[in-house]
């Protein structure tokens, strides 16, 4: 390990517990949004995180961006503890692209100021900022003339390009993409995915790519982690995961991918009508109430992550 570079992101047993219903005058409820997650992303890799809404994938992204402190565990970025970095240093290393191209841009500031914000935070002067903003806008497929516009004057796809420009203007090593295309139409989604792939190659970026769309994840990621109620239940190289999944939840997720191939019908995902509630995690294997193959001991025995056939799985039956 001495000569090898450290992983771009390393997460060690990270948990985040939110207290819901804050305040002295309402009952507290504890939500274990992320509950003991560990993984590492090598420099230059693209790591996908998939799962249903409420599985904790967006919270994980926010933890890695330093927007929330983790309740326990360590996050290392480029070999250094995130908690030890000051905000400017962290910003130079890691940047986000969010889902909603409407709420991710301040509606009252010009594109120039939005894209130049990370530079301003580093104390870089106006002239230098303007030069780099224009250069970056052109790099993401926009024109210099757009610098003076407001977000409301751009289309959804153009806004997402602005968000990417803002994320890349400090030349960070790592970009965390939280559902970057799920608010976009398919034709625009393709444009944005192509742009991300191209920028990644050119700038040697490490991507953490969070999505509920498995087809998109398959297209762009090298390795995928499947999250369920705050835990990674399966993690494997993309090809491996998509060829034969080991966890019953991963299998259900894969079955529900509807490719545009007529005549295949709709598969039975076999999950029943219950739905996971992160404030009320079941004992034993947390997936057992929905699991089509659950047996008695899944109710009481908590599975630990194991390596099975070159992949990490958290299931008693795998």
């Amino acid at each position: 390990m001495s000569g090898a570079p450290p992983p771009a992101i390393e997460i060690r047993d990270v948990a985040k517990i939110f207290r819901q219903g804050t305040g002295a005058f309402s009952a507290a409820r504890f939500v274990r949004a992320v509950d003991g997650v560990s993984f590492a992303v090598p420099a230059g890799g693209c790591f996908g995180v998939v799962g249903e809404s409420g599985c904790g994938k967006s919270t994980l992204a926010r933890l890695i961006l330093g927007l929330h402190p983790p309740s326990s565990g360590d996050i290392l970025v480029d070999g250094r503890r995130l908690a030890d970095m000051d905000r400017r240093e962290r910003a130079r290393l890691i940047q986000p692209v969010f889902q909603d191209p409407f709420s991710s841009l301040n509606p009252r500031r010009a594109i120039r100021d939005i894209v130049g914000l990370p530079l301003a935070a580093q104390g870089i002067g106006r002239a230098e900022r303007e030069r780099r903003v224009v250069e970056m806008l052109e790099r993401v497929g926009l024109t210099a003339e757009m610098a003076g516009r407001l977000p409301a004057q751009l289309s959804g796809g153009q806004r997402q390009r602005v968000a990417i420009a803002r994320a890349l203007i400090l030349r960070p090593r790592i970009v965390v993409c939280d559902e970057p295309t799920s608010a976009l139409d398919v034709s625009v989604q393709a444009q944005i995915l192509n742009l991300l792939a191209e920028l990644r190659r050119e700038l040697g970026l490490t991507l953490l790519f969070i999505s509920h769309n498995l087809a998109v994840v398959e297209h762009i990621c090298d390795e995928v982690a499947v999250m369920y109620l705050g835990r990674v239940v399966e993690r494997a190289a993309t090809e491996k995961l998509f060829h034969a999944a080991a966890h019953p939840y991963t299998r259900a997720l894969l079955a529900s991918v509807l490719t545009p191939e007529p005549g295949l019908g709709i598969p039975d995902v076999g999950l029943g009508d219950t739905y996971p509630d992160p404030a009320n995690v079941p004992p034993g294997c947390r997936f057992h109430p929905r699991c089509p193959i659950a047996v008695e001991r899944c109710r009481s025995e908590t599975p630990l992550p194991r390596m099975v056939d070159g992949r990490q799985v958290e299931c008693l039956l795998a």
Partner: protein
């Protein structure tokens, strides 16, 4: 599909439907479609293409400020155009039902599931509330809800999104409709729940002989659900065909481009960029002529600014474009 017997008359026949908004925007510009009995007809297109507005126009549920007109709008042989709002209301929820995209907000938060389901039955069929509630419990069981009795007494906020959409479907079935219009019914749901809801719709259709007009932006859903497909772009149906035909031989350049944009596990290659359509959808106002796709089309010609012909590729598969039916093979060669 192609093997089935020819249908005597479509349950819903729409010809030359137009919808205008107050600001002069033309949301729907003369579309025609026919939904056959017992079939799923998908209306597919990207946001803003007018697909939801078309469905609302058929049901006469457009918001104030939008006006509809049509050459023909017939449901089960009845001309809907001259009907008053009161007469239309008698049909809605009874012979033709509709479900929506947002299950979280589509149910009234102040009333129980049972009360909201029972009132549809009582409104259209009369009868006692108890009988209507029995019917509601029966339908909840049919849409795969365990413990229907418990659910009837619950309020919408006590149910998950997937359960609410099942309730919406059960509510739509309260009066045995012949046509169900489903406007993006799974867009707000998780993928696993989406698959469950779509499978439920397929099962119900087979069992009840329901005709479904399914509005979606997702080509995967279209491929798996549709018998027939109409592709919309900027307020026009630019191509319509059976699902098998459309995916085997997409002929309008827009349909063609759209299919290239979708990543398919195991088929699209990771190191090759996805196909994409440059530019954005134009805003269509009065006086617009020609093909609305021409600005984004790689094959656009000067004639595209004029009246565009509707060409038939094979019977039942038509597209609105100057290009010959075999242009994809020619440009590949």
């Amino acid at each position: 599909m192609s093997g089935q017997a020819p249908h005597p008359a479509p349950i819903l026949a729409v010809e030359g439907l137009r919808v205008r908004f107050g600001g002069g925007t033309q949301a729907v510009r003369g579309i025609s479609l026919a939904v056959n009995r017992g079939e799923t007809h998908c209306l597919v297109g990207e946001s803003g293409c007018g697909k939801s507005v078309s469905a609302l126009a058929v049901m006469n549920l457009l918001a104030r400020g939008a006006t509809r007109s049509a050459d023909r709008l017939a449901f089960d042989g009845t001309d809907l155009l001259p009907l008053s709002e009161r007469q239309m209301a008698r049909l809605r929820g009874d012979k033709m039902a509709m479900i929506f995209q947002e299950p979280m907000t589509s149910l009234n938060p102040a009333y129980t599931v049972g009360s909201q389901m029972a009132e549809v039955r009582q409104r259209h069929r009369g009868g006692t509330r108890a009988a209507a509630l029995d019917r509601a419990a029966e339908l909840l069981a049919k849409v795969g809800i365990t413990a229907p009795g418990l659910r009837l007494a619950q309020y919408p906020h006590q149910l998950s999104g997937g359960l609410r959409q099942r309730v919406m479907i059960a509510m739509a079935l309260m009066c045995d409709p012949q046509l169900l219009i489903a406007d993006e019914p799974t867009t707000a749901l998780d993928v696993t729940v989406q698959a469950q809801i779509l499978r439920l719709l397929l099962d119900l259709q087979r069992e009840l002989g329901l005709a479904i007009l399914l509005i979606t932006h997702d080509l995967g859903i279209v491929a798996r659900m549709a018998h027939r497909v109409s592709v919309m772009y900027a307020g026009r149906v630019v191509e319509h065909a059976t699902a098998a035909e459309l995916f085997a031989a997409p002929t309008h350049p827009y349909t063609h481009g759209l299919l290239d944009c979708v990543p398919v596990p195991g088929r699209t290659r990771r190191d090759v960029p996805l196909g994409s359509i440059p530019g954005t959808v134009p805003r269509i106002t009065a006086g617009f002529t020609g093909c609305a796709f021409r600005e984004r089309c790689a094959h656009a010609m000067p004639v595209c600014a004029g009246e565009v012909p509707l060409r038939e590729r094979v019977p039942g598969h038509a597209y609105e474009c100057f290009l010959p039916a075999d242009w994809p093979q020619r440009s590949a060669a």
